[in-house]
Every structure is written in C-alpha cells, then in structure tokens.
C-alpha cells in the first residue's frame, strides 16, 4: 500500500521531534509567568466523611496566601470529570468542592500562595473537623442492604441507583445463551479478577491558568480533551464558554488519564478568586491516588462450545467499581462487553454488568477502556476450551473469529452509554495476524515440544535439540490471545480541520486534535501533505487550542487517525481543488489535466507545464487577492475495529515463582499504517504497559482505603532491562472508512499480552491463573497446591 503514496506509509520523523530531543520549552510547565501563584489541594485523609466544621482563618492569615477555597466559596454544580462529548454518558455526581469526602484524596480545600512551601504550610493550617463515616471499600459488598450510601446528595444526576451505590447497570442479550449452553458439548464457567492500575504517564497532571488582557480565563493544561475541558470549566465556574481559552501544549503522555477535566476547574477557580496566574501540579504521589486509574473488575464468564470447537454461547457477567465517582463508569464497562464478546461469532451472547461506587480512588478512561479486563477473561477461557477439546488454540480462534462482511449486532445494543450502531466488518486481517504471529514465535514447534517436556520431562525425539531442558526448574511455554478495539466512537466522535496556504507554499494545518505524545500531529500532517502533493516540512501544525483551532472531541477511543485524519483529508482535498483551479488559470490548462506533486502543480500530460506551490501562493495572494483556506468536519457512523493477535513465550522458574517473558509477538491489523515506525512504537508501548498489568502493577489499598504504594519504588512499572524481546508485525488492510485506509493502533495492542502470558504460563507449568497480576508468590503457592 505504501508504494502508491509518497508521504503516507513512510517512516518520517515526528514533526514535533526536534523540540523534544533538544529539550526546548514545550510542555505545560515549561513557562515562566510573572506573578504566578502556586495552587495546592488539601486531600481528604478519610475514605468516607462529612466536613462538620472547616476553619480557614489561620491559613488565610499566613503571609503569602492569596486564596483558600472550600465548598462554601464556590458554585455547586453537579458534573462529571469525564472528558466526553456532550451530553456525557457519565453521571453528574462530582462537585468542584464538596462537604462530603468520598475517597482518600478527595478535595477538601484549595489554596493559592506565593510559593509551594507557603501553599503546603497553608494546607496544614486549615482546621477540619470530620464526621467519619463507615467506608465501602469492597466492591462485592457495595450493593449490600444497609451498606453506607456514598452518593446520598439530592442534586446528583444520572446515577443508576444511588441508594445501592450503583453508578451504572448494563444488560444486553442477543439470542438466548441458555439455549446455547443446552446444545453445547462443553461448557466452561470461570471467575476472573483484575486489579486497579494506573496510567503512570511520565508527566503528572499540571494546569496553569491566568486572566488575559481581556479578562478571559486562559487555561494551559496537560489535557487530551481541550474542547471538553473548556465546556466543563465554563459550566462549573458558571462563566460563558466564550470567556475560556484552553491551550494544550506538548503533553507528556496521557493514556486516558488526561481524558478528564481534573485540575482545570479548581485552578481556574483560584485564578478567578485571586485574579492571578495559578499553577497546580500533582506530585507523583498525588497523581497515584488523586488522579484516575483502571476499573478493577470481577468477571464471570461462561462459554459453551460444540465438540468441534464451534462457539454456541458466550455469557459475561461483570462487577466493576468506578471508585468514588462515576467518571467513564458506564462506557468503560460497556466496552468490556461490546468490544470483547463479538470477536467470536456466536448466535447467543449476553453481557451484564453492575458498576458500583466504592470509597476508593476514582477509576476512569485508560487505554483499552474496559477491554484488557474482558479479554483477560475471555482469552483465558478460550485457551481452556482449546485444552479441553485437544485443539490448537490458534485453530479454535480461527474457527470462531469474526470475519470480513460480518455485522456485529452487540455493538448496536451497547453504544456509548446508549443504543449504538451495528458494526460492519469492512476490513479484517485477523487470520493473517494469527498466521504471521504464529510463524514469528515458532508456534507449532514450541507448542509441541515445550508441552512434551513439561508433561513427561523426556527429551523430544527427532534431530532437533530439546527446547526445554529436562528436569530443569525453568519451564518454558507459549500462549496466544486475540483482541479487537474500535476506531473512534461511532456516531459520536467528530473532528474538524482547517488548512491555510501561506505565500511561500507552506500550509498552516490547524486541528483540534490533541497530540499527547502519540504522534498525531505527524500523522495528520502526513495525511495533508500526501493529499496536497507537498513535502512534510511544508506543514506547520497547530493542535488543541480552543481559540486557534476548530473543534475536535479530543484524543481518545483510538479516534484521532481515523476521525481527525478524515477531517484533515477532506479539508486537504478542498484546498487541492482550489489550488488546481488557480493553477489552471496560471498555466492555461484544464483542471482535470493537473495534479499536485513535489511541492508543485504539474500537468498530467506530456506538455510538462508546472507551477511551484510558492509561485501559486504568490499569484493567489497578490494577483487574485484570495486566501486559499478550507475547513472540513468529519464523523463516522461506524467504528472499524483494528485486530490483534499476540503471542507470548515465557520461562517460569519453579523454584522462585518468577515469570520471565522471553518474547512477545504482536501482529496487528491497523488498516494502513500512515507512519509505520510510529505505529510500531504505539504497539510496543502498549505491550510494555500490559506486561506490567500481567505481572507487576497494582495499586494497593489498606483497610482504610489509603493507597500504600504511591511511588515508582513500590508500584513496579517495567524498565528497559525488564522488557522481553518484542516483535511487532503490522498487518495492513484497506479500511474503506479510514483516510488512506487507516484504522487505529493506539489501544488494541494493550488488550491481549496479559492473557497471552497467562496462557503461556499454563502451557509451561500447567497452572491457570484467574487473577492479575500473576506474582511470583502466586506461582509458588499454586505449584505447591498442585504438589510440585
């Protein structure tokens, strides 16, 4: 596919790369603002409490303190912090500041002071008397009769059943799963548990706000959703949208954690109170317990198959907790059903989910958005079915997987918190992903020989050396798992782009899209440059600024390449038409004989006439007196899924319980890769996060709801030397709904490494794990129970 294009499909350098490798000031906090105050939030020490009395007089009297805000000082506007398109499908259950505390880390008060030291001292001087309430920490008891009610306030809206701590509830069924189970030869039902983990983007949340010379509130923030943040801040602070200007500079990673309006409101409130510039940044510790995390889930999954492996029924029942607030509660969990179950065809599917409040850190959007939990469960059971039937796990998947031309009706039932649209499969490279991934890990041979050695400790016959040393405490195994995702939210996500010609033949590409380190600016510039026949260096990209770019929902749901890219392509095509019309006059050649190529407009025929973009721009601006400038908007009524097959090879030390991932192969159908190198990078990063999810990462809470490991010392992310060999295979397909055939890549590779590792561990030692992370002590305990 890449051969017919000159810019699309090429490994071009990032358009923002130079400033990043040279350390130029580019991030939110890389700015000196005269008179800047330091903002700080007082976190609740209790998981569940009511403020009986709060006295800020001593704090206010401290020299250098400019404002102390409590719930008594700010408007009470129910809202959600979820950065979603209006009307948000998340409940409006959150307040700028409140008199009730719902988790350790909830906002008690906020101060703005001359320095960080003074701000911290001011927090210590705030006197608070709490009525400590019994907390709900265990999601399995959140709905119990008599359980404390977390959201007992009368003014919250959109909560499914506040009296039972139920933030959201989902039940959808296609066909009748019980009929399917009756017909099945084999039914397997298992329970899985997934933990609370965090994004750990390297740049913690940071917001700086000030009043500009027109008294408008300017908010410079590390956000994935500048336009949603503008709308939400305006609503919460009760000022017109017109008076808010949100700027998204370079962002140090987000992974969904910044798809939240998290600090913008309180920072803005402090600026309005002091009329001074204010900065609030989370420390790493605060980032852990005051920002967002992945929803922990307990999943019960029951699958029924015929003896030949044909799937007859698939039933998933989930209990999830959203923590203290319902940000993304319904939609993340909806995804656990709508993007997981339909990867395998079956006439009978049922998904039921209770999403409960607990007095724990708030969950939110996190790369994968409900899918990593669901695929861990489903792909583990698929492996178990293959084992029971004596089938190759790859073959079982191939037999059942969704195919080109299929229409997935479950996603029509499970939309973005409301009824959705059916998903038509217009491109599908999953079979090729399985084949090429299997070849890359040497699946057939290792599957057979590791198993032989594991079971009998005998040397395998034949000429080949044994893959597994006999009687060794090191056991190897290989495992596979598949997944899919979406590319934007069907019928909801939309974006606009504006493209403007300058007199030297360069172009301003203005997009609302929010590059948060993903490479979106580069990919969008490549789409524009390809369409206009110019080199990438002709593109000046401005992104994510609510004053200077058109609207975009923001960077989430793997939407940017397909949705924002769609808008860029449309705008570029309109500009191209305009350029050709002008060139036609200049060259006295009909438009249909012209094309854009190599920074010029050239004739298609043999006459070889041409005009450079620069000359054309001069002519347009100074002769025709016209600004060549076009904008376009784009949305899709479908969300084409990227597909992924991932293979893990592990080595389990049966003496220490340590699981070493030796090799992780990702074969991913992303449509057409606009920039293959960047696409690989997205996949490799997702794999690293998922391996942490599988083996090491977990936010641990004590009996009072306080996180006990809020640091990188105690919360183990994988470092450079912890990583296995990675192989990434981009399986290209041509997606009709995507610009130049592109779908998406950002999320899908995070879904299946964890189950692939778990399945490989089963292959190595014959023990199946139903809970993440799989820690050495879990392995040792399981081996002991097994009698080894």
């Amino acid at each position: 596919m890449s051969t017919k294009h000159s810019i699309v499909g090429k490994n071009l350098r990032k358009v923002d790369g130079f400033k990043l490798v040279t350390g130029r000031p580019a991030f939110t906090d890389d700015i000196h603002i005269p008179g800047l105050l330091y903002g700080k939030i007082l976190p609740s020490p209790h998981a569940h409490a009511r403020i009986k009395r709060i006295d800020t007089r001593k704090a206010k009297a401290l020299p250098g303190v400019h404002a102390v805000l409590t719930y008594q000082d700010v408007p009470r506007v129910p809202h959600t912090t979820a950065g979603q398109a209006w009307p948000e499908p998340s409940p409006y259950d959150t307040y700028l500041l409140d008199s009730k505390m719902r988790f350790v880390g909830d906002r008690v008060a906020a101060v703005a002071a001359e320095s960080r030291a003074i701000a911290e001292e001011a927090l210590r001087l705030i006197e608070v008397e709490y009525e400590v309430l019994p907390p709900v920490l265990d999601m399995e008891h959140a709905m119990d009769a008599g359980a404390p009610v977390i959201h007992d306030e009368p003014d919250s809206k959109g909560i499914h059943d506040a009296q039972h701590n139920l933030a959201g509830y989902i039940l959808k069924e296609i066909g009748n799963v019980e009929d399917g189970f009756r017909e099945a030869d084999l039914v397997i039902e298992r329970e899985f548990r997934t933990q609370r983990v965090q994004h750990c983007m390297m740049e913690p949340h940071v917001t700086i706000s000030w009043l500009d010379s027109d008294d408008r509130l300017v908010i410079r923030s590390s956000t994935q959703v500048p336009f949603h943040a503008r709308r939400q801040v305006a609503m919460i602070l009760q000022i017109p949208v017109q008076r808010v200007h949100v700027i998204k500079p370079r962002i140090g990673g987000g992974f969904g954690g910044k798809q939240e309006m998290l600090l913008e409101d309180i920072c803005g409130a402090l600026t309005l109170a002091t009329r001074r510039p204010v900065k609030i940044e989370y420390t790493r510790e605060e980032e852990f317990y005051m920002a967002r995390s992945r929803h922990p889930q307990i999943l019960n999954i029951k699958m029924g198959v015929k003896r030949d492996g044909t799937l007859l029924a698939n039933k998933m029942t989930v209990l999830a907790t959203t923590g203290a607030y319902g940000s993304h509660a319904l939609t993340v969990q909806g995804n656990t059903g709508s993007k997981v179950l339909p990867i395998y065809r079956t006439p009978n599917m049922r998904f039921e989910c209770h999403i409960v409040y607990t007095n724990t850190p708030v969950a939110g959007a996190f790369r994968g958005y409900g899918c990593p939990q669901g695929f861990f469960a489903q792909e583990s059971v698929m492996d178990e079915i293959a084992h029971e039937l004596g089938m190759d796990p790859v073959e079982l998947r191939k037999k059942n997987m969704i195919r080109l031309g299929d229409i997935d009706e479950l996603s029509a039932q499970l939309g973005e918190g409301r009824k959705g649209l059916p998903r038509h499969i217009r491109s599908c490279g999953l079979p090729e992903c399985l084949d090429r991934g299997a070849a890359a890990i040497d699946w057939v041979r290792k599957r057979q020989e590791y198993a032989v050695a594991s079971i009998s400790d005998r040397r395998s016959g034949g000429q080949r050396p044994p893959l597994q040393a006999p009687n060794s405490h090191l056991r190897r195994g290989v495992g596979v798992a598949c997944s899919m995702q979406g590319s934007g939210i069907a019928g909801v996500d939309w974006a606009a782009a504006l493209l403007k010609l300058n007199e030297d033949g360069s172009f301003n590409l203005q997009v609302g899209a929010a590059d948060l380190g993903t490479g979106a600016d580069t990919v969008l510039a490549q789409i524009a440059a390809e369409t206009l026949g110019v080199t990438l260096d002709k593109m000046i990209v401005c992104s994510g600024d609510t004053d200077f770019t058109p609207f975009d929902v923001g960077a989430y749901a793997s939407s940017t390449t397909i949705i924002s890219g769609g808008a860029v392509k449309k705008a570029s095509e309109k500009v191209r038409e305009h350029l050709l019309r002008i060139a036609s006059k200049m060259l006295d050649v009909p438009v249909d004989n012209l094309t854009c190529r190599d920074n010029q407009v050239v004739t298609k025929c043999a006459c070889e006439k041409s005009v450079s973009m620069e000359d054309l721009a001069h002519y347009a601006m100074y002769k025709e007196k016209v600004q060549v400038m076009e904008n376009a908007s784009h949305f899709n009524t479908d969300s084409p899924p990227p597909f992924c097959a991932q293979f893990a090879e592990v080595e389990v030390d049966t003496e220490t319980g340590h699981i070493r991932v030796v090799h992780l192969v990702t074969a991913v159908d992303l449509g057409v890769a606009i920039n293959p190198m960047q696409a690989e990078g997205q996949s490799e990063g997702a794999v690293a996060q998922s391996l942490g999810y599988a083996l090491t990462e977990e936010m641990l809470l004590d009996g009072s709801g306080r996180m006990i490991n809020p640091s990188f010392l105690d919360y183990k992310m994988l470092a450079a030397k912890d990583m296995p060999k990675l192989t990434t295979i981009l399986v290209e397909t041509d997606e009709p709904l995507g610009p130049y055939g592109a779908k998406s890549i950002a999320e899908v590779p995070i879904n299946a490494p964890a189950p692939a590792v778990a399945n490989a561990v089963f292959h190595a030692i014959g023990v199946r794990f139903y809970k993440l992370p799989i820690r050495p002590e879990d392995v040792l305990r399981a081996l002991r129970e097994k009698g080894q």
């Binding site: 490994n11 350098r13 990032k14 923002d16 790369g17 130079f18 400033k19 990043l20 490798v21 040279t22 350390g23 130029r24 000031p25 580019a26 991030f27 906090d29 890389d30 000196h32 994004h199 750990c200 983007m201 390297m202 740049e203 913690p204 370079r250 962002i251 140090g252 990673g253 992974f255 940044e281 420390t283 790493r284 948060l516 380190g517 993903t518 490479g519 190198m677 960047q678 690989e680 990078g681 997205q682 996949s683 490799e684 990063g685 997702a686 794999v687 690293a688 996060q689 640091s711 990188f712 010392l713 992310m717 470092a719 450079a720 030397k721 990583m723 990675l726």
Partner: protein
C-alpha cells in the same frame, strides 16, 4: 531567607546564581530556564530530571544545587552543539524513539554518559544504562535501538577524527 552564591558551569558556560541552601538542583535549573530538565517524581525514581554532573548521570531532584559548586553540569540544552544535533538526538528521531518526549532528555543524557565510557556497548549494557529512566510510551525498544545506532556513529566519527589527526600530522 538565607541565600548563597553558587558558581558552576552549565553546558560549558560559567554561571553564578543566588540560591537558597536547600534548593534542589532540579528546581534551580528549571528556574534558570533549563526546562529540558523534567519533573516526573521528585523522589529519584523516574529519571526524567537526569542531568550529567561532571559527566555522571544523576537525578537532579535528589541533589542540592549547592552540591554542584564548581561542577560541570550538562543538560539536554547543551547536548546540541553549534546548531547541530548530537548523533544520539539524530538517532532518537530517526528510530522513532521519541513519543511524548518527556523522558527523552533524561534518556539521551544517560545514554551519553554510557557512550563516553563504553563506546561499543552491548544491548544489555544499554538497557542497564537506561534502567533508571522510565518511559511509559515506547516500551524501550526504539530508544535502545537508537542508542546502539548512535554508538556506531560516534565510533565512526572517532575513527574519522583519528584519521584526520594522523593526516594533519603527516602533512605538517
């Protein structure tokens, strides 16, 4: 507040700054406009604030500025020379080793210290040298490839300068 004078060399330029005795090197460098020094954890765990002090990579969030009296400090801003990118910076761009770019300055500086000591490192040595620089975007493969590629360029350059020196000796 107590203040003191700090004299040091930053990116080859002598500097004299007024600091408080308890100021951290990270805070002082950022205050003086070296924004390439990133604040990621302030507890010496993430490596985003890595700078070289007398050629050694350190977490500037764990060092008092006062401790750098008379020292040579290199930040990412000083890695590019005469408007030309260092081979490490070129390689990070060429190999797609930069995603969000927040950990990039620290990684490049850790790699620079490694290559000064070991011009021909193994992949394992590169991974060990980068082990203190967390990156949540890349999965580390492309940064490791970039460092190995930059090492090749450094070695080639080293050979070239040696040959040129020999040539100029012969000529004289």
């Amino acid at each position: 507040m107590n203040t003191m004078q700090l004299c040091l060399i930053v990116n080859g330029e002598p500097k004299q700054w007024t600091i408080a005795p308890g100021d951290l090197l990270l805070d002082v460098l950022r205050r003086e406009g070296y924004f390439g020094v990133k604040r990621g954890c302030e507890t010496g765990e993430c490596g985003a604030c890595t700078v070289l002090v007398n050629g050694k990579p350190i977490n500037s969030c764990l060092m008092f500025a006062a401790q750098t009296e008379g020292c040579e400090v290199l930040t990412i801003e000083g890695v590019e020379r005469d408007g030309k990118l260092d081979p490490l910076q070129e390689a990070f761009l060429e190999y797609g080793a930069v995603q969000c770019g927040f950990c990039t300055p620290g990684m490049i500086l850790s790699a620079k210290a490694l290559l000064a000591e070991r011009p021909d490192p193994t992949e394992a040595e590169v991974r060990e040298a980068l082990a203190g620089n967390f990156c949540r975007c890349t999965g580390y493969l492309k940064p490791v490839e970039a460092v190995l590629a930059a090492a090749r360029v450094y070695r080639q350059k080293g050979r070239k300068t040696k040959i040129e020196k020999r040539k100029s000796k012969l000529a004289s």
